[in-house]
Amino acid sequence: MTDLTPILTEFWDHPNSWTLETYEDKQGYQALRKALAMPAADLVQMTKDSGLRGRGGAGFPTGMKWGFLPPPDGGPRYLVVNADESEPGTCKDIPLMMAAPQFLIEGVAITSYAIGCNHAFIYLRGEVVHVYRRLLRAVEEAYAAGYLGKDILGTGFDLDVTVHAGAGAYICGEETALLDSLEGRRGQPRLKPPFPAVAGLYARPTVVNNVESIASIPPILSRGADWFADMGTEKSQGFGIFSLSGHVTRPGQYEAPLGITLRELVDMAGGIREGHRLKFWTPGGSSTPIFTDAHWDVPLDFESVAAAGSMLGTRALQIFDETVSVVRAVSRWTDFYAHESCGKCTPCREGTFWLKQIMTRLEHGQGTQEDIDKLVDICDNILGRSFCALGDGATSPITSAVQYFREEFGAGTSQPWWELFPPEKSVLFPVRAKETVSA
């Protein structure tokens, strides 16, 4: 039995949750004071000891990433916060920055001090104007209070923070594409190595971390690495925000220790939509292989989800009940990957194009017998052969859906999905009789 642990979400219900005043009332910036009195290396060690792993999808140990920076050479080093949140299903960083942006700003200040950075950047996706307003305001307030700027809290530490808005491109969430975009270029991934730790922004040592990773730093520092490490599972320590969407009674954000199960979360969310049952779900966004009702009790930690054949990703639990056509769902994700493929490498650029053609045929009931094998074959050619993880992600929904629902793909050779799964049955509002959904 797992209980929720509201930490980053703790005061989101405060009427002025986003202001510096509210944050200071909740012990905000105490952690920064503590940090600035510590040697920077101790902060890196604390982060390693906490077991915090990146909350942006890949789960790389955060302290270890900071530790990869080469020793200071007198030149600039950068922290870049990845606030691009665009992985389908993922919806935790945006509400965090809307409701409590100061967690992130304090985390940026502490992390910058820990890694020897004097200019940090927050790269926010451009399609959320009010979140941009809140971040600009949060930074302004932090400067005015002396938490950012020159000689912070009289310690001699200087830090500037620039909040930068992107312009609509999923690939800019990939950390090296993000850096190219931040340098004013097309957002296309870079060859690794060199990793950003060695040659990142402006070819200087750079740490790229997710919003939630950085926002978790102040609580870890305030309450101790052990407090954090005691939560969660042995190798997936701490808490994280789980985002439930789709066919549950109360979709929303549930902050819990890693290792909680879908069953526990859906119970809290009031169950699957009344009168319906679970069919399939994503544990961590559309790029993570789908799960089914065989996976109710998989602990949602990095290891257990991987052992069950998927990835924890961003804890974006998109939940679909028995009214939903898996072919339709996967086809729409495939459209997304084909649209967002940056075009840099052939397997992904061409592969997603062909996947889309075939998925569209199957959606319309016009697929051929060979199409299913062809899909799997193309996925085989993309997976592991693409320049970045977007290509791999594009194959996840398809291969997993074929694995669990092959017969539904088979039906796509003779019947359009909307005959088998009338779309009116899936929608969340009452539908008048004359309305039907076109493909």
């Binding site: 979400t9 002025n16 665009s86 399609e127 959320v128 312009a167 009790d297 929608v427």
Partner: protein, 249 residues
Amino acid sequence: MSENHGPLHVQTPLRASDEPYDPQTLADLVRDAELIVARYPQKRSALLPLLHLIQSVDGYVTGRGVTFCAEQLDLTEAEVSGVATFYTQYKRHPNGEYTVGVCTNTLCAVMGGDLIWDTVSEHLGIGHDETTEDGKVTLERVECNAACDYAPVVMANWEFFDNQTPESTVRLVEDLRAGKDVTPTRGATSVCSFKQMSRVLAGFSDGRADEGVGAGPASLEGLRIASGEQTYTRTAPAPAPEASKEQQS
């Protein structure tokens, strides 16, 4: 958007407008560009915000805007165009006063986004990235906007309209066309124009950060459980299938 743009939905080339900026507009642009460049260690980083700035003046990325960016940042026009065409928020033809985006990524589409799209597209008589004849509304299908717990989601000038229906979205576009104030569910108290919004995205605050809620209801569901305000029933986990088999043998 009073001047006649001709057919609004045709992709016009990036260099469509070559009429020079008037001296005052140019002086303002130069001043703003300097402020943007000053935020970065290297000036090329200013390109994305500068393109948002161009849209805040011209309503889309014009030829003269491309030239301006190139001059400010010592880039070629081809380099600027190459960047401008990569990102979906940069418009290649005049945009309506309001961009209305219906999320049709899988989760929202299934929860009703497709039905909303069909209804509002038919209602307005326009398709993706097309603009109503009055120049008010540009309709777009948008990708997941990080609000899936509020599905189906509609964005108006990139403000959140959560938990929409076909009827509420038709009302939204009609109110926008009629010049009535509309209030996002999570955002400022009213929706500003595309140009004003673009200026914010260029990093110029409009002083509206304190408007609106901190969090919508879905963002608070976990908190309500944790505080005991919302109760729930726990169901028992299924016995692990392998384990039960082992017990039998």
